[in-house]
Symmetry: C2
Subunit: 480 residues, 2 copies
Amino acid sequence: MYILSEEVNFILKKYFVDLNQEEIPKYLLIEKHIKRLIDTNVVEDREKLPSIRSLARFLNVNNSTIVNAYKKLQVEGYAIQKMGSGTYAKKKDIHKNFNREYSKALKKIFNEDMVNYVDFTGETPSGEFFQINFFKDVLNEVLDRDGAKALIYQESLGYEGLRNSISNVFWNGKVDKEDILIISGAQQGIDLISKAILNTNDSIIVEKPTYSGALSVFKWRRTEIFQVPVEKDGINMDKFEKILKKNNIKCFYTMSYFQNPTGISCSNDKKIQILKLAQIYDFYIMEDDYLSELIYDNSIKYNSFRSLDNNDRVLYIKSFSKIFLPGIRIGYLIPPRKFKESIQNSKINTDISTSSIMQRALDLYIRKGLWKNYIETLNDAYKKRYIHMQKCILKYLGDKVEFIKPGGGLHFYLKIKENIKMDSIELFRQAKNRGILITPGLLFYKNSLEGKKYFKISFSHVNEKDIEYGIKILSEIIIV
Amino acid sequence: MYILSEEVNFILKKYFVDLNQEEIPKYLLIEKHIKRLIDTNVVEDREKLPSIRSLARFLNVNNSTIVNAYKKLQVEGYAIQKMGSGTYAKKKDIHKNFNREYSKALKKIFNEDMVNYVDFTGETPSGEFFQINFFKDVLNEVLDRDGAKALIYQESLGYEGLRNSISNVFWNGKVDKEDILIISGAQQGIDLISKAILNTNDSIIVEKPTYSGALSVFKWRRTEIFQVPVEKDGINMDKFEKILKKNNIKCFYTMSYFQNPTGISCSNDKKIQILKLAQIYDFYIMEDDYLSELIYDNSIKYNSFRSLDNNDRVLYIKSFSKIFLPGIRIGYLIPPRKFKESIQNSKINTDISTSSIMQRALDLYIRKGLWKNYIETLNDAYKKRYIHMQKCILKYLGDKVEFIKPGGGLHFYLKIKENIKMDSIELFRQAKNRGILITPGLLFYKNSLEGKKYFKISFSHVNEKDIEYGIKILSEIIIV
């Protein structure tokens, strides 16, 4: 006999399924049954499923029936396979349905008229401070200068002029233009890196909470995701190192400034510590340099992981779309030399290259100093809103929420105090009905339950008057 | 004992490895040894490797050592894992090195001065017939009309105006604008679809030969790729159906007009047959509508798979960059309703959205009738080159190569006759030294060996005089 008696008992207890329903394929019956067992917690999250052979013998079906059932479970996100070890149950995220509700609600509203809403969900600057005429002049200058070439010629790393400007203006020449790859934004950067260096079942660490768009890519890539809580100066280092000790970590994804959603910036001390650990435990840091241009608190000094790195451990991602204008779709990536070729190939296989005319326009815009002026304008304007929003939160929500001052960026991350029953899903729904849009915290966690007391409010699309109005409404909804 | 005696013998013969080299981790020794066995054909392509447990016992190491060795083999492309079945050897493609040589050589030349070369490798129209001033006017009109909005506002499916124009101008309103997703080109379309509907180890069929950029995506996605030879009116249907019968195929990737590289267009009869089979065997057709605007032979009537489909079986991909100007980076995708949401999410996770200003410009360009005029100009100009290139091939290479007349598109696919010893790698190298660039056929095959007698020459970047000059040089190199 191949099956040990305890395994038989285990299977008997947990896996009994009636296979005499002729119209439905057996593998589907088995799959459905196991799904129910997982949903109802009879089989727990990460519990090992019986081996294919033993379950097949027990149910008196072919091995391939079990293989198909397990494959279906995997496809539906109910199981993961570990090489040489077997198949494991995976609990479905109970809040997945809310994510869908949330994005559907926003889509619907955005497609209608936004005028009736106070929109605290903005992720990027609005265009209100952007002088479109300057950009128009730049675009025309490019077309006069380069002609059709501006729309044809494609360099494998991106337009050389722009790479030059990035090297000179943003890195003081300390990064070689040949080490810069032009991409279409941070989201693409995360996708390209994942394709080039992450394989199925590789392990990565992310901050808790973190950017949901990154989580999606890593989940899609079927990596094993570990989360480390963010504290007021960056991640919890003890928990971080504990995970590094126990697991073979390939990559740590982090937003180094005004992290999305917490607004926290990692301290230089922690950055240096993390870089050391990267060398010891042989992992790489995927740095998403998010909104580091918008610093309102002068005590914050800007140092990216990339600028502190001496060992080629950082995959640096920068989006121009976030701070500039989302519709331009340009960003750049500086990979370690080791990954340069594979990430470049990853770009080619993903979308060949980024719009060459927009690269030329952005280059000229930077070289004319327009970029610098624009960022200064944004800084002034958003600093006012930042201060105002903070005041309003303290005034109207002071006894209802807790938060850490970010000192920059475009948003606040608030926690509804423990003694208040309301969660942020309920808050989202009620606020929406009263014309206020917020982002509930659950979107930023691997297990969304952890985010249910949190919500994010951004001031990028809301003027001072509406900030006050919106927060007042929120305070009416959140009842102690 | 767990190991059967024949398995012991098998392992003894094939897997003997000296594990007493203390400085190197055991799993690496084992991995290196198996790699050598695969390279030297002791273990053949697709041969099953011993089970983890039996090999571990035999070598007296931990299971995890073998797991790590097999993982490394997988990462390096020397093994694939099949769920519930084990790990299988995978032979490395012997011509992979040439692909690298080829792309490096082209990169180097493109970065230098192209003036000294006759470039037969062009994949897209050059800008010489494009009236940049018209485009400039359109761009300015968009900026005057929409202001900063042109650079900010992002719709989840892409700019509504452009989707409207596509629906009206290219589909006579028969495709709903809500079923169109704007993307940044065909390559992105292939990538998005693969992410949304293909899982590791899923099976797909491609044409033999096929577009290398598609092959890369499918390989990267770790799908099982089947190839069906292309004949003069499309794929070989017997071979196609044989594969469908034996395997669970998820998708068939095809270029329906002037296929890259063969230049062949699939007949309507075959298209209808393939659509029927899709319904019977439950697979989907990924249609890359490649250059169908450039038809020189009036007997060719344009019917895409998408326009013949009644069962929502086609994932239609169209690139504007290919026919228009590569630097614009715009295309669109029409998925079956069933996949609409997952492909849209795939787009968001890949790069959020496509440059909104370029979408607006293209929309206006189409609506003003400029697109139609431009395509007519291209048709006239390229038809002349097409006829001229065909004449030159017959005149100078008539006794050295065979080919099928494509009747449209931008290139010819030539086969060096069997009695001639030269292969296209040698031809590429010698031609390059004499200032002529061609594309060797090996790039278009899963096993590149099959393409070694073929090469592709495109007339998109070469005027009539240089076409004649270049082909004359090729005829001097190819010696009977």
